[in-house]
């Protein structure tokens, strides 16, 4: 591993225990920072808007991203379409701190993800299971997040993905060495990374929860299930009182194992994002199925 790859993984380590918030303008970015976000994700439309409005979702306007970079001192992330080499190069040229190669945007390549090792900037990628996570890490991702189902305000898919990853890691760790190659074949993951996970009992990079977090309790649930931090997309700035909700989610993420504190911060937050039942979303419109 190069020194650059190591330092990019290190930046993800600095975000642990924290909340990364989707923001669409400098004002929201400032609110997020003030609430205690560890980073912001700059994007023009949050996932619930993309879901409602449809059309092709692309990288955001560099002007808007630059304004957000100027507004806050915490790291700024931005999304590039899956496989869109040039969008990623543009974000890198803007000295963005982290690129999310994201299924929330419309994929630009229906077969290949980015060769993330060809970039100096770190990448975070979504995953539903261990195989997908290790394929992305194999391509150079410095951080993994669950895909969940973005923009739904429904935590069930993120829970499924986090549990699936933990179960597969536990199973892998229980296998005799000679079974590792077949396991790698079965889950479609690089053998060397499978061996590393078996030795260390965890992913080689930081793993956050994302996709459907709407309440402080949702954020704490993901931490209880083993996530190392939380992305909140539409859940904050599409709720009734973003400022209070943002603060509450940050506090609940730190004190995930203290129900009294979570009860306290969850009081009187106003309406959460309304939310969508997953079975009401046609299979073809599920963002989590994007990526290969």
């Amino acid at each position: 591993m190069t020194e650059r790859e190591q330092m990019n993984r290190n930046l993800a380590q600095m975000l642990k225990g924290g909340v990364i918030m989707d923001v669409t303008n400098p004002r929201e970015a400032e609110i997020a920072q003030e609430a205690g976000a560890v980073a912001v994700m700059a994007l023009e439309r949050v996932p619930s808007d993309i879901r409602r409005e449809g059309g092709v979702a692309r990288m955001s306007d560099p002007k808007m991203i630059a304004e957000i970079q100027a507004a806050v001192s915490i790291p700024v992330m931005a999304k590039a379409r899956i496989g869109h080499i040039v969008e990623a190069r543009v974000l890198e040229a803007m000295k963005i701190d982290f690129i999310d190669e994201s299924e929330v945007l419309t994929p630009a390549d229906d077969r290949f993800h980015l060769d993330k090792r060809a970039f100096a900037v770190p990448f975070v990628c979504g995953a539903r299971n261990l195989g997908e996570a290790l394929r992305r890490i194999g391509e150079g991702a410095a951080m993994i997040r669950t895909k969940g189902e973005a923009g739904t305000g429904n935590i069930v898919e993120a829970v499924r993905h986090q549990r699936c990853m933990s179960e597969e890691i536990a199973r892998l760790c229980s296998l005799p060495k000679e079974e590792r190659m077949s396991f790698a074949k079965e889950i479609g993951a690089p053998y060397e990374l499978v061996c590393q996970v078996a030795e260390e009992g965890r992913l080689p990079v930081v793993n956050f929860a994302a996709g459907g977090v709407a309440t402080p309790a949702d954020a704490a649930l993901m931490m209880v299930l083993g996530s190392e931090g939380v992305f909140v997309g539409s859940g904050i700035f599409r709720s009734e009182n973003p400022e209070r909700r943002a603060k509450a989610i940050v506090t609940a993420t730190t004190y995930y194992n203290d129900p009294k504190i979570i009860a306290e911060v969850s009081r009187d937050l106003g309406e959460a994002i309304r939310g969508v039942e997953i079975s009401q979303i046609p299979e073809s419109q599920r963002m989590e199925n994007r990526g290969w």
Partner: protein, 182 residues
């Protein structure tokens, strides 16, 4: 070990490898009351600062630092300890140093330096700077421990220690022994 956000697990793992140390995560005022010394980890200083206030740790921690509790801040932790933060209000204000946040630049400017720090040991060691601050100047009560790329990267004031880099990421136990020896 302040355990609100950031690289506290890495610090705790390093502490666990040392003899005669009982590592304790600090998340509440009751935890703090049991601690004899405190490490403030890397992470985001704004987030940690907000959490310190919400946790009711702000005043007790300031009080303990004023009473002379040994403390070591790495990166964000150093920013929390500094008496002056360029362009912002200071946080705990325990050390007579001024720091500049993200002074080396964005993540693309993060780097690893290799050099010896005389106070810690004669060997060359890897110093990892992640969106790091630098120490702009030290007051008369503090001393410079090392400079990297012409900037102050570590300082000491009695039993207080500030490093712009992350010994918890390289597992550099010499730094922990040095802190414990102060």
């Amino acid at each position: 070990m302040l355990a609100l956000q950031g690289s506290f697990a890495e610090h705790l793992a390093c502490l666990g490898r040392l003899e005669g140390v009982r590592p304790l995560p600090v998340k509440t005022p009751a935890d703090l009351a049991r601690a004899e010394a405190l490490i403030l980890p890397g992470g985001e200083s704004t987030a940690q600062s907000r959490l310190l206030r919400r946790a009711g740790l702000w005043e007790p921690l300031k009080g303990r630092l004023a009473e002379g509790m040994p403390a070591w801040g790495t990166c964000a932790g150093a920013i929390l300890l500094a008496g002056e933060v360029v362009g912002e209000d200071p946080h705990l204000g325990a050390m007579d140093i001024a720091v500049r946040r993200n002074a080396f630049g964005s993540q693309l400017d993060s780097f690893t330096a290799r050099q010896a720090i005389a106070e810690v040991g004669p060997e060359e060691r890897a110093l990892v700077f992640i969106r790091a601050p630098w120490i702009e100047r030290v007051g008369p009560r503090a001393q410079v421990l090392c400079r990297v790329r012409g900037q102050i990267a570590a300082a000491r004031q009695g039993r207080l220690l500030a490093t712009a880099f992350h010994p918890e990421l390289t597992g550099d136990l010499d730094f922990y022994r040095y802190f414990l020896s102060l």
